[in-house]
């Protein structure tokens, strides 16, 4: 096992090394994939950073079956490179290591009916905080055998257990595709375009609405299918063909705070009307949204007003001590989340 003492980090290179590490240590642990999302998590203080990017094999790629098994530390870009010659893709947005992407699930789906990490994860191999290995799910595209414990990794940001291997569903790449961006729109125009595209039965593979601090909006996305169909859809919907301009995260300044939430496009006008000043907003087609606010006063004001709109949010960007603050959660959800954490990680080692 390699270690980097100056960072207080350990970097196991196999599941066995990871198990040994977990058994040999007792203190708090922060799991780190490639590290690209650490700035969006609460400060781990003096926890031992365990880097998982040493577990980086593409264990199995079954093109005809459209499934694969990957180690948690494999960069998504490497999987994409392996899939491209086979005409396949992992059809959800997001970068970084695959373990990190699935554990954080920062974006969800790219459209309201599109695949997301939770729907693409078929099964997993994992390790509990005490070093005990376990499996859940399967490698095939359908399985309802046993409880889907692996689903709990999605959004857990490494709080429950370490997923060391993921079994993933893949999809064929469309025969033709076109990215588009329609910019300079008023919010009402942008929402009308979004709603029109959401009502289509097929063809929209990614959708995003971004509103800048001047209140102007862009709608961008990806159309896929047969070449003639793609051309016609672009024409019929008045889409402006472009290179890919998709953003995984909202652009932020040094003093900004970022609130993440789930919100329907029909709820966006009420949300923006209730927010002080003019925030930058990035809404993804699966209804995940990031609101960029100028400092803690604005964030706190928004967190206070959201329950009246039946919305919830969490601070994911800003000073470390502010990250993780959120609107009040349902009491049963809080209790259940706590109970799951305490049963799977009884000593609360994963922070």
């Amino acid at each position: 096992m390699s270690t980097t003492p100056e960072l207080g980090a350990a970097a196991p290179r196999s599941r066995a090394e990871l198990q040994d590490l977990l058994r040999a240590t007792t203190g708090p642990i922060r799991l780190v994939g490639g590290g690209s999302r650490q700035h969006r998590l609460p400060d781990p203080a003096d926890a031992l950073r365990v880097r998982l990017d040493g577990l980086a094999s593409l264990d199995r790629l079954d093109g005809p079956d459209q499934t694969c098994s990957v180690d948690c530390g494999l960069p998504r870009s490497e999987l994409d490179a392996a899939l491209a010659p086979l005409g396949l893709e992992l059809p959800c947005p997001g970068q970084g290591t695959l373990g990190g992407l699935f554990a954080a699930d920062p974006i969800g789906a790219a459209t309201s009916d599109g695949p997301s990490p939770r729907t693409l994860l078929l099964g997993a191999e994992a390790v509990l905080a005490d070093g005990t290995p376990f499996r859940s799910g399967a490698r095939v595209v359908k399985s309802v055998a046993g409880f889907d414990v692996h689903k709990l990794v999605v959004g857990s940001v490494g709080r429950l257990f370490v997923v060391t291997r993921l079994h993933l569903r893949l999809k064929p790449r469309p025969r033709a595709e076109q990215w588009f961006e329609n910019g300079g729109l008023a919010l009402s125009e942008a929402l009308a375009l979004v709603q029109r595209l959401r009502q289509l039965a097929t063809g929209v593979l990614a959708l995003q609405l971004e509103r800048d601090s001047d209140g102007r909006c862009s709608v961008r996305g990806r159309i896929g299918g047969r070449a003639a169909f793609v051309r016609e859809l672009v024409r019929a919907q008045g889409l402006a063909a472009s290179a890919c301009t998709w953003r995984d995260q909202a652009i932020t300044g040094p003093h900004d705070e970022v609130l993440a939430m789930q919100v329907l496009p029909s709820q966006l006008p009420a949300l923006l009307a209730a927010v002080p000043a003019t925030p930058t907003l990035l809404w993804h087609g699966g209804n995940r949204c990031e609101l960029v606010l100028a400092g803690s006063n604005h964030s706190d004001a928004v967190l206070a007003v959201l329950p009246s709109l039946s919305l919830g949010a969490r601070i994911v960007g800003g000073p470390p001590e502010r990250r993780g603050r959120s609107t009040p959660a349902d009491a049963a959800t809080t209790r259940l989340t706590r109970d799951l954490a305490s049963t799977l990680d009884p000593n609360g080692r994963f922070v």
Binding site: D65, D105, R118, A138, V140, V149, R198, R314, R335
Partner: protein, 490 residues
Amino acid sequence: MLRDLAMATIESQLVGALGAARVLTSADALLAWECDGFTVHRSRPRAVVLPESTAEVRAVVRLLADAGVPFVPRGAGTCLSGGPTAGPDAVVIDLARMRTVLHVSTEDLYAVVQPGVVNLDLTHAVHRHGLHYAPDPSSQSVCTIGGNLAENSGGPHCFKYGMTVDHVLGALVVLPDGELLRLGGPAGPRGPGELDLLGVFCGSEGTFGIATEITVRLCRDQDGVRTLLGSFASMPAACRTVSDIVAAGLVPAALEILDQATIRAVEASVYRAGYPEDAAAVLLVELDGPHDVLAEEAAEVRSFFARHGALRVEEATDPAERKRLWKGRKGAFGAMGRLNTDLYVLDGVVPRTRLEEALAGIAAIGSKHGVVMTNVFHAGDGNLHPNISYDGRDAQQTARTIAAGHEILQLCVDLGGSISGEHGIGTEKLDHVRMMYDEDDLAVMQRVRTAFNKRGLCNPGKVLPSRGACAEVAKWPQMVARVLDPEPRR
């Protein structure tokens, strides 16, 4: 005696909560709840209650939890693995009367329904808006959305559209202690920073709680549908056609295969669809999408049919023809009722690329045990449904049926697959779970179940084998013993 007195008190309290007409306790009345579609396992519950609202479900659950009485939620009882079959001490909470579509949003494409809403009724309710609910189990005209959620049901069209978990956005759940839990909502199943509780709840077979309101995604109807039926002289030819269609990047809405025995059963039944009885297999391919695209895709499918020597190809050109082509597939399980008094519908999954191997193995297992076997399956997903027709009154036939079933599931696992693609574990596969999972895996699943269902009162004895059975690892005789003595004396 004391136990009977306690139960009488509880029944009286249940009557107080729901009224006498919605609390059933007589032996005759309980007969309809003694099994689900897995008729091998029968057990009459202590009582059945029929709540009509979340508040009533909650009241019943609290009452039973306080008294330490186990309870079992149930939809239409179409499950095929014994999931909603209750033990003799348990009370069934039947949700069939909670059948209201509470809200439909055509703008945001979702509906909120009570759990007893029948799957197909939801599609009928939104049809006029050009919408439908995509998961379509074969029992969709009877099965309920609540049951679908509990089992994470699939169906022919889940190859393209996904399983129930992919279409459920939220749920209001009465936990086994009576607490109310709200999971997800119209905007999505999981908020930022939250665990995917809805993901693990879906498919938990009614052991984690009772969903009393369910928010589901609605899909926009496609412009058009093309349904093609190819008949083949051999099963491998049909399977290879499926492989080629998928390898070409086509994503049909459905890819279904019926073997010759199934075709003949269908053609001899009221579900007769005009399938060629001399074919070794028929492959039903359904394409949906924009009209122009459909024409190109149908031509491609026809070329794959030709490449693999299809004996005959039919294409539905109107809704009546489409209905006819589907009639045999949808009615296949019913048609098999002609073959014997009982039908054991198996459910296993293999990688799609190993279908041929799996089917050859299944045939060999059938021969070995001398059972009458038919196959109808979701070829696109590698989800097999070998069916064994037998006489359940004959203990030897039953035992051979179960033995063959056990070996088929082991074959699926050996080929890299799963013991269940859509029917669940229930009681049927308690003895098969260890084919896929070891003790560490099961212990983690048990911990998760305990977090939801602390006292184990909600649908006990399902999904996970008891520790007491550990010594008999993967031994089918346990199952046979349970069949021959379904309610062992305690």
